[in-house]
Amino acid sequence: MTAVPASHFQHRHLLGIEGLSPSEITLLLDHAEACVEQNRRVDKKQSLLRGLTQINLFFEDSTRTRTSFELAGKRLGADVINMSVSTSAVKKGETLIDTAMTLNAMRPDVLVVRHGASGAVQLLAQKVDCAVINAGDGAHEHPTQALLDALTIRRRLGRLGGLVVAICGDILHSRVARSNICLLNAMGAQVRLIAPPTLIPSFVERLGVEVHHDMRRGLKDADIVMMLRLQLERMQGAFVPSTREYFHFYGLDYDKLSVAKPDALIMHPGPMNRGIEIDSEVADDIHRSVIREQVEMGVAVRMAVLEILTGRLRNDRGSE
């Protein structure tokens, strides 16, 4: 069914999009495609991961990403355990590495990790024997989000190459933006970033993206408009003067959207701040908004990642 065999995936962990080849990205997306079909059946459960243990280790709260990983693991037959660390060990002074070693001793097969510090997931991956999936580290990467965004786009428009994708919002603090830039660049899309200068990281143009501060210019003829969440505490004078001013210049409404391609798709990684970065009507536009579809693709993409990484695991251990 897939053009590229799974054995071509060269990594033990999924720590980021950076470092993945276009064929590895395609491989993951192709696998995810099959999972979408499976998830739409009445009987969703498979037994590919039976006997394997997956621990979701979240140092930052995130209901939706955790739930998505949990469903993905369960649908493949894995035993899934959720650990929310912000409320337990860390407060007792246990370090990240201690936590990693403790969990490692319980012999999980997959660790899904979210942490507030860039590089934390990588650090943890060095200390454990199992496959590690980055579910978001600081302002660094969130690879499964970029993959699910890519899958959503590919299913709607049939391709990624040659598309104009405008990413709009708090790029500076966004791991979603970094992973998406990496992935879209690798697959030949053209990426534009739109934000006030205070929310654009210095030197970002080195990633091969166009930077715009004027939303209308940035959105012109875009195929995809990807909105990012803006944390409310960053809107009170430190990075932008007010939510009102931000929405006026950078909130997505029909007026600004009119310069994009007529059938341009609207995406958002959630959770949305309606009326701040995106107008409610636009977000709910059934013809253009694919925000709910993204959530569905999320489960499929995470299943594909689990499948491919654990496939490698079984091969490495010679048990298959």
């Binding site: 950076e18 510090a117 860039s118 660094h140 990467e141 210095s202 080195r206």
Partner: protein
């Protein structure tokens, strides 16, 4: 070794201050340099003098490390005067200038005297203390600069952090000039550097880490240069790391200002790419910069814009470094690796040998008014014997510091300390070291 006389024979005598570079003999008597030169004992060493053959080795004044954190008092789990002294001796350093950012902060006469006494009792090399410039390093009130200077403080600094308030800095410079006291500033504008953990650039952007912009350093350097111009005070920038700061210093020199600056070996031996994938041993302050900055530092050392090479020795235990990059502590140990890393600039032809050694001997001695850093008859015999060309590999196992936070483990270098003398006594001997 009171009463003993020893001759170091056949060494290449290097004295950066006078420009001496010749094979000869140096005579030590009662712990002091009694005589030296190419013709000394040319017809043989008289009997009664202990002879040390140093053929093939260079003999230079012991090094002065103008900026090191020594752990005492209060951070003895990271470093002590004993361990720092042993590391220094193994690195050819005979005088360490200690930063005052200990716990308690060295901001009082009694504390200067306390550390001095502890060091004299326990440390195998000499220690000179810098005192805090503001009480508790809080950046609000001046310390007793005159009294502290009289008690032996050689300079005044707030250690790791800059004095942020321009008005206070102006007054401190003006006031200190009465005593001809030198202030040492860490040039980093705190509000621009806040939350930053590495150099701001493509690398920090890719890693998703907050950056410390080069401008944070340059702005502080330029501000302080104007304040020096205004007050006539004496100012030394502990470590500069950026091309723009070097350029600003060069321009100030041309205007005749009494300012000087140092650079740390890691700043000219590495650039930001050494961080790779979140290597916390490369988390240092000032941060490792871009390659263009590194090259500007090398050029600055070569042309004299940068006066001093100092280690910026900052020991950190494993627990402070085995963390996600943003949460790990800043710091690198450097007493023991300062010389071989600096010698890279000699071996690769960037900086003449004597000029390089001057940055670690006569120049810091001149700035701080120390009786050290030169080959002079009558001076204490603080000396280092170096096998300049010997290749070796820096190994963590040889580190004498209490902590091992150095990214240089495994780095091939050239030039090895063979023996270190403090007051004529052996503080380090490579042969005994095995």
């Amino acid at each position: 070794m009171n009463g003993t006389r020893q001759a170091i024979v056949g060494a290449r005598l290097l004295d950066p201050a006078s420009g001496l570079d010749a094979v000869g003999t140096l005579l030590i008597e009662d712990g002091r340099i009694a005589d030296f030169g190419p013709r000394l004992f040319a017809d043989g060493v008289p009997s009664g003098i202990e002879v040390h053959d140093a053929a093939g080795l260079a003999l230079a004044p012991g090094l002065i490390d103008m900026h090191a954190f020594l752990g005492e008092p209060g951070r003895e789990h990271k470093e002590t005067l004993v361990t720092a002294g042993e590391a220094a001796a193994a690195g050819g350093v005979t005088t360490i200038v200690a930063t005052p950012n200990t716990d308690p902060v060295i901001d009082d006469v009694a504390l200067v005297e306390f550390v001095q006494r502890r060091a004299d009792e326990t440390c195998p090399v000499r220690v000179r203390q810098m005192a805090a410039l503001t009480r508790g390093l809080k950046g609000q009130e001046m310390t007793e600069i005159g009294l502290l200077r009289a008690a032996g403080a050689v300079a005044f600094t707030d250690g790791d952090r800059a004095v942020a308030e321009a008005r206070l800095m102006r007054r401190a410079l003006a006031y200190a000039s009465t005593f001809d006291a030198i202030l040492v500033q860490v040039p980093e504008e705190p509000s621009l550097a806040r939350d930053g953990v590495m150099n701001e650039g493509e690398m920090s952007m890719r890693l998703g880490l907050s950056g410390i912009p080069a401008m944070a350093e340059t702005i502080m350097v330029e501000r302080d240069l104007r304040l020096v111009e205004l007050t006539g005070g004496r100012l030394h920038f502990s470590h500069v790391s950026t091309a723009t700061a070097v350029a600003a210093l060069g321009a100030a020199r041309a205007r005749g200002l009494r300012v000087s600056a140092g650079a740390a070996p890691h700043s000219f031996a590495l650039n930001e790419t050494a961080i790779g994938e979140y290597r916390t041993y490369c988390k240092v302050s000032p941060p490792l910069r871009a390659e263009a900055d590194r090259l500007a530092l090398v050029a600055g050392i070569a042309d004299g814009t940068i006066d001093v090479i100092s280690s910026g020795h900052r020991p950190q235990d494993q627990e402070s470094k085995r963390l996600p990059f943003a949460q790990a502590s800043f710091g690198i140990i450097g007493l023991q690796t300062m010389l071989p890393l600096a010698l890279e600039l000699h071996h690769n032809g960037s900086v003449p040998l004597l000029r390089l050694l001057a940055c670690m001997t006569s120049r810091p001695a001149g700035l701080l008014g120390l009786e050290a850093g030169r080959l002079l008859v009558g001076r204490p015999a603080d000396l280092v014997l170096i096998d300049l060309d010997r290749p070796w590999i820096i190994s963590e196992r040889e580190f004498r510091s209490k902590t091992k936070n150095s990214p240089f483990d495994g780095r091939p270098v050239q030039g090895r300390v063979m023996r270190t003398l403090v007051g004529g006594q052996i503080a380090y001997d490579r042969k005994r070291d095995g």
